[in-house]
Each structure stands twice: as structure tokens, then as C-alpha cells.
Amino acid sequence: MEQHNEIKVFEPTADTDIKVWFKAAPVHAFPENGGACVKYKDLQIAVFNFSRRGEWYACQNLCPHKMQMVLSRGMIGSLDGKPKVACPFHKKTFSLTTGECLNAEECSISVFPVRIEDGFVHIGFTQ
């Protein structure tokens, strides 16, 4: 599974480090209060339209628990007001702002900044 070995864990990036804003898809392609998966180069990115908060989040689609590409299909919600996503397989939850695992000892996931421009969802990458 070479693809997985190449993924590095990175810190949440400051806007100034972003080199590319990738135009992924129109806003209406994403469900409300749910997620969908975006393909960027060799990466799979889960993007969440947190409608009730008026916020958008993005993170890696790979759940580190059993290394499965499914986080985009998980339910989102909040823990003490902080946005999170629950992996559909075993309900491991991850913060959508910091990527840390909230209910188990798992590695953190990468999170990415999201921008909405002209009705399109853009995701920020450093490469």
C-alpha cells in the first residue's frame, strides 16, 4: 500500500504556508451537515459542510484506526461545542479543528483549511 506510506502527518497549517488553493467542486455537490470525498492528486480528502454552524472543514479521508478510506462518510457533530467527525467503522471521533482523536488513543489526522469562493469549495495545501 505505497500510497499510505507516503502520507505524512502534518500540523494544521497557517494560511501563509498554503501554496495551492485547490478548486474541488461546487458547494451544492456536498450534502448539508455531512461530508463528501475529494480527490486531489493521490490524496483523498474528506470535506464537511457543517451547515448549521455555517462552517466548512476538511481532513484526510483515511481513518488511522484500521487504515480505511471512509472518514468522509462519517457523521459530524460537536463535543462541548467543538466540531468533530465520527468514523463510520468503529466511531472513533476526531476534532475537525486540530485533528486529534477525542475518544481513543489513535494518531491525529491531518486537517486542511477550506475556502468558499464563487460558489466553489477550495481546499488549501502546502504542496
Binding site: M1, R53, M69, R73, G77
Partner: protein, 832 residues
């Protein structure tokens, strides 16, 4: 380093070693045990007859002694003590020196001098060796008796019963357990035991054991006789003080080594603990005082002389042959002015007696037979000299249904100093601290940290109650509100949603919740809405749990399984072929399920609508293998083909499955219909199971398989199909409306106040007057049925949701398979 030699490796001798090593490794320890095995639990000896092995009963394995630097010599009898030289000698000729000597030789079974006691077939009930001999002899005989109707005698009687013998108990005194219970209590106990098949003979003094070589019968002082082929003598115990006598230690005239409050004999270096010791003219035949004695000696050896042994409360509660018996404080008050309050229910076989002071303020003692649920509370009231309530009789009247609640309330009322576990002397305060400060959450946690419940096990129910109450007070949800976002129970939300006509999760969260929801409340609310409105769940797809989101069960790798409905497990060859063709076309792994249908695995999310389109075209519908919903109604072939079938079970199964398909519920629902009593469809392990009889159907409810299987219980017998459907309608709607989230019908019934009787009342007798409404609601749900896959297939908008990427038509490139027996399967995710 100084050396301690322990003579005797019984329960108390072992406990001494355990307690010593928990305090110091600065003393060398050598133990001699006469029996050929290390210390074992003699209290629970009778479990040897119901499956426990000798190893199960060990207090600690041999390795424990080695790990704790204790030299244990088993099968070695100490034969001499030289007090001047301070040495001991064993039967092997070995000699060892000591600085301190602890006599823990316990007692042996008392064998009365009756003519014929040496005949074959006469045994005592003390060691595992005794038990092995009893088991072996019992194979050759049919009638046995136990001499002695005390605690141990009744245990031995159970053992004989378990070995299949016609069992008799012969007791010298006019009543059973003469030291713990009174005449009236003994009568009730006698009655209960005789119902179990044991014949009790009280007031019988055995004068002769008859037989030619081997035992054939007993002769009593009153001239009567009893024919038996085996006798187990359990007529008391006598201290093993022969060694003490020989070495001129002070011994009580009736036997036993005399000790002071420090458990010291008349020799400063020698202690005696357990059943061999006599303190204040008392010998203690229970394990708890022996442990306490061991503790006092251990403390002295490490220099702590603050604690002394001041006697011990002999209250006991135990289960004798399935009958609860409790005796606490002063059960008789023969010498104390008192007023007895007695509650007797001969029909139920219960007897409760409490002795209160003449001014009605305090409890002196009592006896409980048949129902000892109030034992712990009452025992504490005596021990702590607590003030009695206004009407003390309420303490023993009003048990049964309210009993459990009373008992729990009982723990609450106890002060922190109350002793909960008497074997290990652990107070309520100590236990509460373990829960509130040290993170104990289960009985196992408590056992590990404090050793409570590990001795006689009698305190376990009380510790359980204490756990429950303390955890609740710590904020572990007392009220079963869903989660941090909704402060309502599932039942309350059901009513809110229905009455206010709320059809979207967002609306419910906005009006009645806080925050932004989570993976707990979203599926719960989704399920409620499906149960109430039965609308297309894909319209609120992002609040659905995993499997409902894509109307398919997610599998390893991220693909899904496809299960078309095959009602009643019946399928035509044409339809079977259709499934085969579709599975081949999409290269799916196929398997037959426990629900009597076919599962196809390995469908990518983007393939699901296509596959279902083909299945629907062939006349199939969604099987709802996903979701908390009705799964299948299994069947076995009944009167159509089977030579034993008495009703047409397959037709009924098909009818029932078609009726309830699509129903969503607090948890999955499984049913079955069997064609005759042989029950080949396994209906008794289902949420609702129907078994054919000559006259119609028997309806069973609330069973389940899984991790904790439970058989369904018979609700009604011999009803016709229409009546059966009517009751199932009511039963299912009642369950849907009142169960907690993710609770199977079995758990729902277990928690139901009034249990099966209440359920019968509501469903069959319509005691709540809601029968008609329940049936009406069910009819509405049934009328609203739609195949959700058909809806998805017919809607391009809904089909759009079934894609892996939102910005590409590519499928997931990470999917990987290996071959297994000619079909595909995902690579093992543990190897990633």
C-alpha cells in the same frame, strides 16, 4: 532474617501468608500442609459437585508461593514441636527451626462413636479426597443419608442429591441448623427442602450403623430404622490440637488451643489462629473470624500491636440448596428481654423473624429463610445499633417486587463505617472511596483493589447496589437522556416528535436540543422518525448511522453488502438464478446468511444503485439487512411438505415478513415460524417466535441470540393467525414506543417492571386501553411502506449520492482483494 513456620495450609493458614507478604518480605516463611494439595476454598467445596475442579478451588496456585518467597511443603505432616529448641519435625524426618510458630491446623470432622461407624460406605465431608471417595461410592448406590442437619450437613445433602441419590438428613436436635435458626424457621426450611426431594428426620439419635461389612441402614434411639446404602457424617468439627497437647500447650477441655486477645498461646513464640484456636471459650467455625485472627498475628510480627482479636459477629447469610438462609445478631434472645416480630408465608416458603428491644428502638437479631434480601441491611442495623423506623415490621414485610428497591435504598442508608464485607473487613466508606477516587467501575475492579466479594461472596449483592448508587451519584447518567445535545429520554423524544409533528432532525435540535448533535443522537432520532413517519430515510442521509446512510452494510475496505429480501426463506429457482447472474456480473462474494437469505459482498458505493436496479427489475426488494429494523422471519417447512408439520409455517412466515418489512425500531427485530414442536426454525431465540400447534399458533416473545442469548417466553398459546398478528402488532408498537435506544426486546423485557406478566396484561388484556391505538399506528406504518432502494434507483438526484469522490467519477483506488476459495475477499486490515 527471622523465620515464621506455619503449621497448616488451609484457608486461614493461606490467608496468614497472603497478609504477611502484603506487609513485609523481611520474614522467612515456611509452611507445612498435611493435605496433598495447596490451600483450597473449603467454603465452596460443594461446587466441586457442580463442575468446579480442584484447581478452580485453589486459594492460590503453587506458583504464587514461589513468587512470594514462601517455602510450601504439601503432603507433609508436622509430628513434633520442640519448644525449648524451637524446632519442628515432620513425618518425613525433616527438621526446621523457627523464631515464631503459627498453628493453623484447623479441625477435622467429628466422628461420633457409634457401633458400625467403620463399615464401608461411611464417609466424612471435609477434604477433596473425601469428596472423591463419596463420588466414587455414590455410583454404586441409590439411597444415601447425611448425619447432621447443620450448615455443612445440608451442603453435603445437596451433594448427594446432585449425585443422583435418594437423600435423607438425620439430625440429633429437634430442628435443623439449631445454632442459627429457631423451631418455626426450621419447619419452613424442612418443608422447602422436602419439596426439593430431601427427606428430613429431626430428633433422631443414631445408635447403630448396621450392615454386613458394608452399610445397610441406621438404627435410632427411639427404635425406628432407616434403610440406606451410604452415609456422610457431618456432625460437627473437632480442633486438630493433638500436636499442641503433645507439646504441652494449654488446651481447652473440649478441645482447641487456648489463646489470648493477641492469639498467643502460653508460649510467647507460638500463635494459634482459625478453627484450632479457642478465644474466650469460643471456637469460630467460619472463615471470616479466622482471617481476622490472621490479621492480628501478622500485625504483631511487623511490630504493630494496636489491634487485638475481640471476638466476632457470627451472623451468616448463605444459599442452602437453593434456599436463602440468614441469621444475624442474636437470633434467639433467650436471655435478653425482647419482642419478636415474625412474618411467615408458608405458601411461598418464607420465614422472617426480627427481635427488637422492648422500647422498639433497636434491633437485636433475627432469622431469614426463603427470602434473605434484607439480610445486609438488617445485619448492619444490629451491628451499628441503628435506630429502628416507626413501624419496624416494615423491615420484613413487603418484600418481593419492592425488595430490590428496598435493598438498594438500604445501602444508601448505611453509614460509612458499616462493614459490607465481613471476610475481609471492608467498610462502605472504603468501597465508596474506591469508586469515587480510585476509578473502580465494576465488581471486578473492586475485587482487585480491595478483595471484597472474594471470600464467601455473600456481600456481592450489596457491593453491586453500592456500585450502582455511587456511580449514579457521580453523574453517570441517572436519567437516560440521549447525550449532551438532548436532555430527554428516548421515550420523551418519541412523544415530542409525534405530538409536535417534527419531521427533520435539524428542527428537533433547534427547538429541543443544544449544540450541533453527534453520532449518538443523530441515529437515535433518525430511528425515531423512521418509526413514526416512515419517510424515505435517504432524505435525511447525513444523520443516519453508517449502514442506513447508503442503505447497505459497510464492510472492510469500504465496500458494501447487498441483501435482497427473500421472505420466509422461500425462493423460486428463477429468482435464485437471477441473484447468481447479478453476483457474477459484478464479481461479488456470495454467502447464505443465518436469516435464510443471500448476501452479496464487495459492491462499491458507486455500484450500489446499478446492482439494485437490476435486482428490482428481477422483482426483488430491499432486505433491510442494514439499519435497526425488521430483518427476517425464518421458517421451517411445515404442513406443506414436512411429515411432522401441523400448520403451514412457510406461508405464515411469508405473510408476517411481508407485513412488517421496512419497519424501523429501537434495535433490530428478528422473527421465525416453526411448523411443529420440533421447532426447526429456532423461533425461541427470536424477538417474536411462532410455533405451530394442532390448534393454531403459540406466540413467544423477547428472545435473542448474539453475545447473551436468551430464550423467548411464551406469551399466548393456541391462537389463530389473525389473533397472532393482532398481538404482534401491539407488541411491536409497544416496544417501539417505550424501549431505550439500542435495546433488544430481551433487555427491554428484563428491565420491565412487572415483567412478562405486565407485558401480557398490556398486549393481551389491553390493560392500558391502548391496544386499538397501537394497532392503528402499525397499520399506518404498514400502509406507508415503500422499497427505499426502488426510490433511490428511480431518482437521479438520489443516485448522485452514491459516489466515492465528489469531484471525479473514479472509484476508490485503494480497494484491494485476495482470493479465497475461488471468490474475492479484502486484504486483512491488520496487515496494513
Amino acid at each position: 532474617m527471622k523465620r515464621v513456620i506455619v503449621v497448616g495450609n488451609g484457608m486461614v493458614g493461606y490467608k496468614f501468608c497472603e497478609k504477611l507478604r502484603s506487609r513485609t518480605t523481611d520474614l522467612e516463611v515456611i509452611v507445612f500442609g498435611e493435605e496433598p494439595r495447596p490451600a483450597y476454598d473449603r467454603v465452596h467445596l460443594s461446587s466441586y459437585f457442580s463442575g468446579s475442579t480442584a484447581d478452580d478451588l485453589l486459594m492460590a496456585p503453587l506458583s504464587w508461593y514461589a513468587e512470594n518467597n514462601i517455602t510450601l511443603h504439601i503432603g507433609e505432616l508436622v509430628t513434633e514441636i520442640d519448644r525449648t529448641a524451637k524446632t519442628v519435625k515432620t513425618h518425613t524426618g525433616r527438621s526446621e527451626a523457627y523464631d515464631y510458630l503459627v498453628m493453623a491446623t484447623g479441625s477435622g470432622a467429628f466422628v461420633p462413636t457409634i457401633e458400625g461407624v467403620e463399615r464401608d460406605g461411611v464417609f466424612v465431608y471435609r477434604t477433596i479426597e473425601d469428596l472423591n471417595q463419596i463420588i466414587s461410592y455414590a455410583k454404586k448406590v441409590k439411597r444415601g443419608a447425611v448425619m447432621g442437619g447443620g450448615l455443612l450437613g445440608l451442603e453435603a445433602a445437596k451433594a448427594l442429591m446432585d449425585l443422583g441419590l435418594e437423600t435423607h438428613v438425620v439430625e440429633f436436635a429437634p430442628r435443623l441448623m439449631p445454632r442459627q435458626i429457631d423451631d418455626a424457621g426450621s419447619d419452613i426450611l424442612k418443608h422447602k427442602l422436602s419439596q426439593l426431594g430431601i427427606t428430613i428426620h429431626t430428633g433422631k439419635s443414631t445408635t447403630k450403623i448396621e450392615g454386613n461389612g458394608k452399610l445397610e441402614g441406621l438404627q435410632f434411639a427411639d427404635g425406628t430404622t432407616l434403610d440406606i446404602e451410604m452415609l456422610v457424617i457431618s456432625a460437627g468439627i473437632r480442633p486438630r490440637d493433638e500436636l499442641a497437647k503433645a507439646t504441652l500447650l494449654n488446651v481447652h477441655p473440649r478441645g482447641g488451643i487456648i489463646v489470648d486477645d493477641y492469639l498467643r498461646t502460653n508460649d510467647d513464640s507460638i500463635f494459634a489462629i482459625g478453627e484450632v484456636a479457642v478465644h474466650n471459650n469460643m471456637v469460630y467455625g467460619l472463615v471470616a473470624p479466622g482471617y481476622d485472627m490472621a490479621d492480628v498475628v501478622v500485625r504483631q510480627l511487623v511490630g504493630d500491636t494496636a489491634k487485638t482479636f475481640t471476638g466476632f459477629d457470627m451472623s451468616t447469610k448463605l444459599k442452602l440448596i437453593g434456599v436463602d438462609v440468614g441469621s444475624f445478631g442474636d437470633p434467639f434472645c433467650e436471655k435478653t428481654p425482647h419482642i419478636p416480630i415474625i412474618f411467615q408465608n408458608k405458601h411461598k416458603g418464607t420465614y422472617k423473624r426480627i427481635n427488637i428491644t422492648e422500647d422498639g428502638k433497636r434491633l437485636l437479631g433475627g432469622i431469614l429463610i426463603g427470602d434473605a434480601s434484607q439480610y445486609s441491611m438488617l445485619h448492619q442495623m444490629v451491628a451499628l445499633e441503628m435506630t429502628l423506623p416507626e413501624n419496624p415490621e416494615t423491615l420484613i414485610v413487603g418484600g418481593g417486587g419492592g425488595g430490590k428497591a428496598d435493598e438498594a435504598a438500604g445501602v444508601k442508608g448505611l453509614p460509612d463505617a458499616a462493614q459490607i464485607c465481613s471476610c475481609e473487613n471492608i467498610t462502605k466508606g472504603a468501597l465508596v472511596q474506591q469508586i469515587t477516587e480510585c476509578g473502580a467501575r465494576t465488581i471486578d475492579d473492586i475485587k482487585k483493589s480491595t478483595k471484597a466479594c472474594t471470600g464467601c461472596g455473600g456481600c456481592t449483592p450489596l457491593v453491586n447496589d453500592l456500585l450502582k448508587i455511587t456511580l449514579e451519584s457521580l453523574g453517570h447518567k441517572v436519567k437516560k437522556s440521549l447525550c449532551e445535545h438532548f436532555d430527554y429520554t428516548r421515550q420523551e423524544l418519541y412523544d415530542l416528535i409525534k405530538v409536535k409533528g417534527i419531521r427533520s432532525y435539524n428542527e428537533l435540535l433547534d427547538v429541543h436540543g443544544t449544540g450541533d448533535g453527534c453520532e449518538v443522537c443523530k441515529p437515535a432520532v433518525a430511528s425515531l422518525m423512521a418509526s413514526i413517519w416512515n419517510e424515505l430515510i435517504v432524505n435525511q442521509d447525513t444523520i443516519q448511522d453508517t449502514n442506513d446512510r447508503y442503505l447497505a452494510n459497510i464492510q472492510r475496505g469500504g465496500t458494501y453488502s447487498v441483501v435482497p429480501r427473500i421472505a420466509g426463506g422461500e425462493i423460486t429457482p428463477e429468482k435464485l438464478s437471477a441473484i447468481g447472474r447479478i453476483a457474477q456480473k459484478y464479481n461479488l462474494y456470495t454467502k447464505i446468511t443465518g436469516g435464510q437469505r443471500i448476501d452479496m459482498f464487495g459492491a462499491r458505493v458507486d455500484q450500489l444503485p446499478e446492482i439494485w436496479e437490476e435486482l428490482i427489475h428481477e422483482g426483488f426488494e430491499s432486505g433491510h439487512a442494514y439499519g435497526k429494523s425488521l430483518r427476517t422471519i425464518k421458517s421451517c417447512v411445515g404442513s406443506t411438505w414436512c411429515r411432522y408439520g401441523v400448520q403451514d409455517s412457510v406461508s405464515f412466515a411469508v405473510l408476517v415478513e411481508d407485513r412488517y418489512k421496512g419497519l424501523r425500531s429501537p434495535h433490530k427485530l428478528k422473527g421465525a415460524v416453526s411448523g411443529c414442536i420440533r421447532e426447526c426454525a429456532e423461533a425461541q431465540s427470536k424477538d417474536f417466535g411462532i410455533i405451530a400447534t394442532e390448534k393454531g399458533w403459540n406466540l413467544y416473545v423477547c428472545g435473542n441470540g448474539g453475545a447473551r442469548p436468551q430464550h423467548a417466553k411464551l406469551l399466548v398459546a393456541d391462537i389463530d393467525s389473525d389473533t397472532c398478528i393482532k398481538y404482534i402488532d401491539r407488541f411491536l408498537m409497544f416496544y417501539i414506543k417505550t424501549a431505550d435506544p439500542l435495546t433488544r426486546t430481551a433487555t427491554w423485557l428484563n428491565k420491565m417492571e412487572g415483567g412478562l406478566e405486565y407485558l401480557y396484561d398490556v398486549v393481551v388484556n389491553d390493560s392500558l386501553g391502548i391496544g386499538e391505538d397501537l394497532e392503528k399506528e402499525m397499520k399506518e406504518l404498514i400502509a406507508g411502506y415503500h422499497c427505499e432502494w426502488k426510490k433511490v434507483v428511480e431518482s437521479p438526484e438520489l443516485r448522485e449520492k452514491f459516489k466515492h469522490f465528489v469531484n471525479s467519477d473514479e472509484s476508490d483506488p485503494t480497494l484491494e482483494y485476495v482470493d479465497m476459495r475461488g471468490q474475492k475477499c479484502p486484504t486483512d486490515w491488520n496487515k496494513k
